[in-house]
Symmetry: none
Subunit: 207 residues, 2 copies
């Protein structure tokens, strides 16, 4: 009988009513999603709480799935990144198929006098726009961690590039490249003593 069941005492996971998306969606729970996203942005619970206008305790409880936040609260929390609830729920945390490519992995498209070397193994379903960028020593895009819909990639031409994507940091040198979902927080920095030149590409619907 369903009679008088009692909710578990405090301290028990609530996780209730969220666990069977019916479809084989297999997406992580809200708490785990939030925690991973927060760490990708390199924020502590308190930092995020301050930005969002909630208390750190709330962040903690949500991340543990001890409470099911209200739409309003979740919106406030996500505004700290910022990110919409829909993007939050549909963002793909796991696959991250491939982010970094070594120089030798770039595929040569055109040969001879002109050399076009393709970033990524498969361009299908990728609509990209390229740019040429130069970073002076110490230059930094800041830890603002801009996030816009789309994808972006690039190749380091000369110098050294320190690239942070979703909490993962990597030093790239001439010939190395990157490719990631622009919604993941990212940061470019030139940690070297000479200019860093890269060719990058991104996809807003700008062309």
């Amino acid at each position: 009988m369903a009679g008088d069941f009692r909710r578990a005492h405090r301290s028990a996971p609530v996780a209730d009513g969220m666990e069977k998306p019916e479809g084989g969606e297999a997406s992580p729970d809200i708490g785990t999603r939030l925690r991973e996203l927060r760490k990708m942005h390199g924020l502590s619970q308190r930092e995020l709480a301050k930005r969002a206008g909630v208390t750190n305790g709330t962040i903690s409880l949500i991340e543990q799935n001890r409470i099911s936040p209200s739409i309003g609260s979740l919106k406030k929390v996500l505004d700290g990144f910022p990110m919409s609830i829909a993007d939050f729920l549909t963002l793909d945390l796991k696959p991250r198929s491939r982010v970094f490519y070594e120089a030798k992995e770039l595929r040569e498209i055109a040969g001879g006098d002109v050399s076009f070397r393709l970033v990524g193994r498969d361009t299908r379903g990728r609509a990209i726009q390229m740019m040429h960028e130069r970073y002076t020593p110490g230059a930094d895009t800041g830890d603002e961690m801009l996030s816009h819909a789309g994808e972006e990639c690039g190749i380091v031409i000369s110098g050294v590039l320190e690239l942070t994507v979703g909490g993962e940091v990597r030093r790239l040198v001439a010939g190395d490249a990157y490719y990631f979902d622009s919604r993941l927080p990212h940061r470019f920095r030139n940690p070297g003593t000479i200019d860093c030149v890269i060719v990058s590409a991104c996809t807003p619907p700008s062309f």
Copy 2:
């Protein structure tokens, strides 16, 4: 810190923290969305509440934006349709310009022996293109075997249809149907002595 601000008394709209989606998304509030979606499904508050496992009062309060439902509650409510939260938030509620079309309103696309009458005036933004087709005796789409990406299907309403798909020929009579990949070469012909009428659909729209 925001010191001691007080939430509005009961009975005042809460609508808090949800009103600036930052992007020019201009999406309706949660309550209005839910109400419209519910009515689109032809459900009363109580019916939906019963399906969702919540009370009708909750539905009412949410639709009036008097409360900001928890993720768990909203999920339960949407399960009554069913629909995911992400889909719910991104759903386009803009007035579908037209829903119903009278027979005379179907736009004639082809003339002569073959008549194609399109459901809806504009296929842009629609995933499916449906047509009411009529073939006079002997009418034939020709053996050019056009092929376009997508899929198409249909049901024979009256008369006889000789359908050729990828080299396979078949005679279909009223009630019979077909479904094939549009990339396969195909041909329609009326081998009978009376008109052949069919209703077809294909995706994506090719005109």
